[in-house]
């Protein structure tokens, strides 16, 4: 892929605790092309949000990027200093969060909070900034933008606040938007509205996105490709259709099997036994091994190399052995 906007190559991120360093992201590699929406799915604690924060350069204080490169256009984000990062955040890459109720500052007006992006990255006049802010507010479906401009976050509903956060992410006209579970905290009807907004933005703005979710329905409606993460590793990757129709990795299969739908009405919903291993319980093998029905001896020793299979790529010994056998 030559037109990749973002190429993450072999990234490791680890957390520092009093008793040592623990890897939280292992050998993460993927890319996002122009006008492509890449989804990331996985259970809580699999490293989805940490991946987003790594791309944004806002890792928690005790986490650090220990290896790998994050090529964005021609810049390696992993080598930027804080000041260079600040020039990119909000202007070239922006982020949308899960918690619309808390991600706005309660003491500042909506207008001021959206406008802040322009204040930081452009040299527009006050009047121009306001006009631009109002037009972006209109474009994300915020009604009565003039009045809302002067109101405070507590006047707004969750859905409206999420639109404000989206307006904030769009106003700098970034090349890439990272959306971390942007619809999870919203009511189902509002969720559908926000998803529609994302779809129309993708169509009209030619925008690239990384879309994090644990909801396959959401992923299916907005993403082109999807990455399945488990305990800090990418286990499978491919087009949304390929993964949904023909999942290869036992974890992906289990995830898809546990999606509720009307054909399963009246049956017990499938759940994956066990839980994601904690940060300190991960060895060198496949982290899913302890929950996997197809576990082999090698699974606990070594994490498999990803294997390409048509539209997708899988990291599982079930397939790497097949490759070795020829």
């Amino acid at each position: 892929m030559t037109d990749a906007l973002l190429t993450i190559d072999d990234v490791n991120v680890s957390f520092r605790f009093s008793d040592g360093h623990y890897p939280a992201l292992n050998h993460i590699s993927f890319s996002v092309s122009q006008n492509e929406v890449v989804g990331i799915v996985g259970e809580s604690g699999c490293g989805k949000s940490l991946t987003a924060r790594t791309i944004m350069g806002i890792l928690p204080d005790n986490a650090m990027l220990s290896q790998g490169s994050i090529m964005f256009d021609d810049t390696d984000l992993a080598r930027l200093d804080e000041q260079e990062w600040q020039a990119i955040r909000g202007r070239r890459i922006s982020m949308i969060f899960q918690e619309p109720m808390t991600s706005l500052n309660p003491l500042l007006t909506i207008g001021r909070q959206i406008e802040e992006v322009l204040k930081k990255h452009t040299k527009k006049t006050k009047r121009d900034m306001k006009a631009k802010t109002i037009s972006v507010m209109n474009s994300v479906g915020l009604p009565r933008a003039e009045a809302l401009y002067k109101s405070y976050p507590h006047h707004l509903s969750g859905g409206m606040r999420q639109r404000v956060v989206i307006a904030m992410a769009l106003i700098g006209e970034p090349d890439l938007i990272i959306a971390d579970e942007p619809t999870t905290a919203l009511d189902v009807t509002i969720q559908a509205q926000i998803l529609d907004l994302f779809k129309s933005l993708k169509a009209t703005r030619n925008m690239s996105m990384v879309f994090i979710s644990h909801d396959w329905g959401v992923i299916r409606s907005v993403c082109d490709r999807v990455i399945v993460m488990y305990a800090g590793r990418i286990v499978e990757e491919g087009t949304v259709e390929a993964l949904l129709q023909n999942p290869q990795h036992p974890y992906t299969k289990a995830l898809i099997q546990s999606i509720p739908d009307h054909t399963k009405k009246g049956q017990m919903l499938y759940t994956i036994p066990g839980t994601v291993p904690g940060l300190k319980e991960r060895g060198s093998g496949c982290p899913f091994a302890s929950r996997c029905q197809h576990k082999q001896a090698i699974c606990e020793q070594k994490f498999p190399e990803p294997v390409r299979m048509g539209e997708q790529s899988v990291a599982c010994h079930l397939y790497s052995e097949a490759g070795v056998l020829e």
């Binding site: 909000g90 500052n105 802040e116 930081k120």
Partner: protein, 314 residues
């Protein structure tokens, strides 16, 4: 408007409640003012005559009513001990106590806020340990000890400040400032310690909030996030703390006035309680409570200024 009507009525209620409590509590205190004025040798008849003269023989509710209506008419009665109008005596003393209160509040804000902010940004294991010891000391050591130490250091050893008495503001601004500086600082130290502690904690708490992450993602610098977002949110609890310290400051000034030999209300209050000078004591405490209520009202207004959520509740 409804807000101000509400505030005014609660102000009035406080006034009535405080006046009732003050009046009846002092009537319950043992010790007859007539006895104290005439001394031990006075005979029954003399005491009786003085009681009638002072109006002490009339029933309590009647006397309370007279006192309160008098205050609304600007007549606060006469001091039993000084035989002078209470209003005049208080007017002489009030500027001293008000100067101490205002100046120490100012010192608390001017020293406490920047220091707390600075320390919050320099967060580390050692700073936080040293800081918590220092602030704990600042909070627990009584203000009069700081008073003595300040007198010793700046007054006696360095001779930079006067150690007792004061210069009125009308006479010389800098002279007055100089004379009120040490006692105000002595009162302010523990408040400064409290402010530093709270400000640091709230700033560290606020820095973990989601809106800070949002601000980071806009590309704002750390400084812009601190001053444009975190500090504003951090000031809300600090305002509460400052409001609470006002009562402390007034209480502190009673003791500090004695340490620095300042003729303020606190000094007068102690004297008039020992001499059972009821009209004077009652009015003074009423004054002090009005000051506290007024300052709390100002704090409340500041709240509304900072926090739009309170404003829209009305």
């Amino acid at each position: 408007m409804r807000y101000f009507a509400y505030k005014f009525s609660s102000f009035l209620m406080t006034f009535i409640l405080v006046s009732v409590i003050i009046f009846f509590v002092f009537q319950m205190l043992p010790g007859n003012p007539a006895h104290i004025i005439l001394g031990l040798d006075a005979d029954e008849q003399q005491i009786r005559n003085l009681e009638i003269e002072l109006g002490l023989d009339r029933p309590l509710p009647e006397r309370y009513f007279d006192w309160v209506t008098g205050i609304f008419q600007g007549d606060m009665g006469e001091s039993l001990r000084y035989q002078l109008p209470v209003a005049d005596i208080i007017q002489d003393r009030l500027p001293v106590t008000l100067s101490l209160t205002v100046l120490s509040l100012l010192l608390t804000v001017v020293i406490g806020l920047p220091l707390g902010l600075y320390i919050a940004q320099k967060d580390g294991k050692w700073t936080s340990i040293v800081l918590s010891i220092l602030t704990q000391l600042g909070i627990s050591i009584p203000s009069f000890w700081f008073g003595f130490m300040l007198i010793l250091l700046f007054g006696v050893v360095l001779s930079l400040f006067p150690t007792y008495g004061y210069v009125p503001w009308s006479e010389s601004f800098f002279g007055a400032l100089k004379s009120f500086f040490l006692p105000s600082l002595a009162i302010a130290i523990s408040n400064i310690a409290v402010v530093i502690r709270y400000l640091r904690n709230t700033i560290l708490d606020q820095a973990k909030m989601d809106y800070v992450r949002t601000a980071q993602c806009k590309g704002l610098s750390e400084k812009a996030i601190m001053y444009g977002h975190i500090l504003r949110n951090g000031l809300i609890p600090i305002l509460t703390i400052l409001g609470l310290t006002i009562a402390d400051t007034l209480g502190g000034s009673i003791i500090i006035e004695n340490v620095f030999a300042l003729p303020g209300l606190g000094n007068l209050l102690i004297q008039s309680i020992t001499s059972r000078d009821f009209p004077l004591v009652q009015t003074m405490i009423l004054y002090l409570s009005i000051i506290v209520v007024t300052i709390n009202f100002i704090v409340d207004l500041l709240y509304r200024l900072v926090d739009p959520r309170i404003r829209s509740k009305g």
